[in-house]
């Protein structure tokens, strides 16, 4: 079995993996610890699953620790998440206490590892207080924020800021997410793992099988939106766009969403979606479990066009995933979608269901353009949004923090 780096070399080229090796040669043997709040499920865990072995393959000594709490802790951090994304959420005092106590007990457990590390990456707000709880730390501590904090609910941000401000650096996904902090704020967009179940190549039989599994018509063009059932993703707007386009071209729509059980609003939105779909046999609303990565992969590959008609979006890795499968994306003109959907090149940016319908019709009538855009979309992801690019930037950041904060660091 070849190494992960070798497999990536076959995808992105030896130039890219050589660059990683050159950067990593400055960091060989350093102890790196990542801390997040879950080992399974969610984008951060998916990234760390591959990131940590890759770092080790490059000669670093990387490990991954997880903060684990009780119900109060998770209720608190779920509310943090919503508040940081701009929802005016009230958090009762006992939940703050649960948050602080979980961090204190985690610090007791992890203190020797964390204080001895050369670099500690703390992912998102859940473990943020660990810095202050490790006073004998000797390494550099970096807060990696994966959340859209462009307009945080201020009282919650003020509370978290006191924990975050003491870090040596922070990383945000987009410039608009950066905040007033007293340390350097690096901008590093997220990425996808081309080798994961969600993005790996599938054989044709597996792709075709989704038609049978979900009762799809293999002869009819397929529109797909993969997203949680959330109003910010505008699933009802997607149905409207489908109906407008269907007047002119035969079409079927698949709305594939994650389980809504942990989202109090999710069930309501799912009801709205089912109601809007009515009894149209060509609308397929799929409520998939959170680990249905391979199914999502096959659906994305089976689709003709992928939609992400969000009205608000953080980065939108689901867009990256679709583009990696050579699909043009019709996306909402917002957030990180703008960084990926290059209007008229890798897809179209739209502001309304009417816009999405218009572009759908255009692409289905111009198959050559659809395929050309798909090719460009895949190339854009290969150059910019695969794990190797994110790893390169993280390694560069580590070298930069090791050798000083100057604007130009020249190493012999």
């Amino acid at each position: 079995m070849s190494s992960v780096l070798d497999r990536y070399s076959g995808i992105v080229g030896a130039h890219v993996t050589d660059h990683l090796r050159q950067l990593a040669s400055r960091l060989v043997g350093l102890k790196i610890v990542h801390v997040n709040s879950t080992r399974k499920g969610g984008g951060v865990a998916e990234i760390l699953e591959r990131f940590v072995p890759l770092m080790n393959e490059l000669g670093l000594d990387a490990t991954w620790e997880v903060i684990e709490g009780d119900g109060g802790f998770y209720q608190c951090t779920k509310r943090f998440h919503n508040a940081l994304q701009g929802n005016p959420v009230d958090i009762p005092e006992p939940l703050f206490q649960a948050y602080e106590e979980t961090n204190a007990s985690t610090a007791e457990r992890l203190r020797p590892v964390l204080e001895n590390a050369d670099f500690v990456f703390i992912h998102d707000p859940q473990p943020a207080p660990l810095l202050a709880l490790c006073p004998a730390r000797r390494g550099k501590w970096i807060w990696r924020c994966h959340i859209d904090v462009s307009h945080p609910h201020r009282p919650v941000w003020r509370y978290l800021r006191k924990y975050v401000d003491g870090y040596d650096a922070s990383i945000f996904s987009l410039p608009a997410f950066s905040q007033r902090l007293s340390h350097p704020q690096y901008i590093i967009p997220p990425s996808i793992d081309a080798l994961s179940e969600k993005n790996m190549d599938l054989d044709d039989a597996e792709i075709r099988a989704v038609h049978e599994t979900f009762g799809l018509n293999p002869d009819r063009p397929m529109l797909l939106q993969v997203s949680r059932f959330d109003r910010f993703k505008d699933p009802v707007g997607v149905i409207r766009a489908y109906r407008l386009a269907k007047h002119f071209v035969p079409l079927q729509l698949v709305l594939a969403g994650g389980s809504a059980t942990d989202d109090p609003e999710g069930a309501g939105v799912l009801d709205e979606v089912r109601s809007a779909a009515a009894d149209d046999p060509d609308i397929h609303v799929l409520d998939l479990p959170p680990d249905a990565h391979r199914t999502i992969n096959a659906l994305q590959r089976a689709a003709d066009i992928v939609l992400q008609k969000s009205v608000k979006e953080g980065f939108g890795l689901v867009v990256t995933e679709a583009m990696w499968k050579g699909k043009p994306v019709i996306g909402g003109d917002t957030g990180g979608i703008r960084l990926q959907v290059i209007n008229h090149h890798t897809g179209f940016l739209v502001g309304s269901p009417e816009g999405a319908a218009l572009r759908t019709r255009y692409l289905l009538h111009h198959r050559d353009r659809l395929e050309e855009m798909g090719r460009k979309a895949k190339a854009l992801v290969r150059e910019n949004f695969l794990l190797t690019r994110q790893l390169r930037e993280v390694l560069t950041l580590m070298v930069a923090l090791t050798y000083g904060a100057a604007e130009r660091i020249e190493l012999g």
């Binding site: 660059h19 410039p175 090149h345 854009l380």
Partner: protein, 219 residues
């Protein structure tokens, strides 16, 4: 005899400055005070950061004028600015301010963007490291350059212009060390315009140029 050519690796990071503009006047005001590294990043950063290979405009100011302010005329005027025409970043900064002020003078209203399309000033941090690869004979450029990472191409062919007294790329500087022997080749290198190309394209053009020159097929 010139010293061997030491191939350097280079990687660039983007750092938020906290400065942002929502109107053209705010953009002008910030341009007067931001670090040179900001100007550098917004002209050259595209090459080493996630970006599209066929951008409509080659610098971020022009792109924002088009997509943030929806001012096509200003976008075209900013887009045509080629940073290699300016001796240093201060001259480039002055040109930017000049173009923007002219546009402000022409209009009755100050162009503005939506709140979610503000211009965010970023600055670059560059890490340069020795790859330990050495080129002793100029003819070896034909085999080493095609294998260079994008970072090395950026460092030696683009970044070099702000490090050397005559705004030369590192290949040309090194070749001058052999007297006039490679004057013809240096002239050809000078004709490679890096600003409107990707680093991969620039590497391809340089590779092809060195290969054809050293294989004796001078065209």
């Amino acid at each position: 005899m010139a010293e061997p050519f030491g191939v350097q690796g280079c990687a660039l990071l983007a750092i938020a400055t906290g400065k942002r503009a929502q109107t053209l006047r705010e953009l002008r005001d910030h341009l007067e005070t931001v670090d040179q590294e900001c100007i550098y990043y917004h002209f050259w950063g595209d090459m080493l950061r996630p970006s599209f290979d066929e951008p409509e405009f080659s610098n971020d100011f022009a792109s924002w004028a088009r997509h943030g302010l929806h001012d096509h005329k200003l976008a075209e005027r900013l887009g045509v600015i080629d940073p290699t025409d300016y001796e240093n970043l201060e001259d480039l900064r002055l040109e930017l301010i000049e173009v923007i002020e002219q546009r402000l003078d022409e209009g009755e209203m100050v162009p503005w963007s939506r709140a979610d399309q503000q211009f965010h000033f970023l600055r670059s941090q560059i890490v340069v490291f020795d790859t330990k690869t050495r080129i002793r004979k100029p003819s070896r450029l034909a085999t080493i350059v095609p294998k260079m990472t994008a970072g090395s191409v950026f460092y030696h062919f683009i970044d070099a212009r702000r490090r050397t007294s005559y705004n030369l790329d590192d290949f040309s500087s090194w070749l001058w060390g052999f007297g006039n022997t490679y004057e013809d080749l240096i002239g050809r290198i000078a004709a490679v315009d890096p600003y409107f190309s990707t680093l991969a394209e620039t590497r391809l053009r340089l590779s092809s140029l060195f290969r054809s020159y050293f294989s004796g097929r001078k065209r």
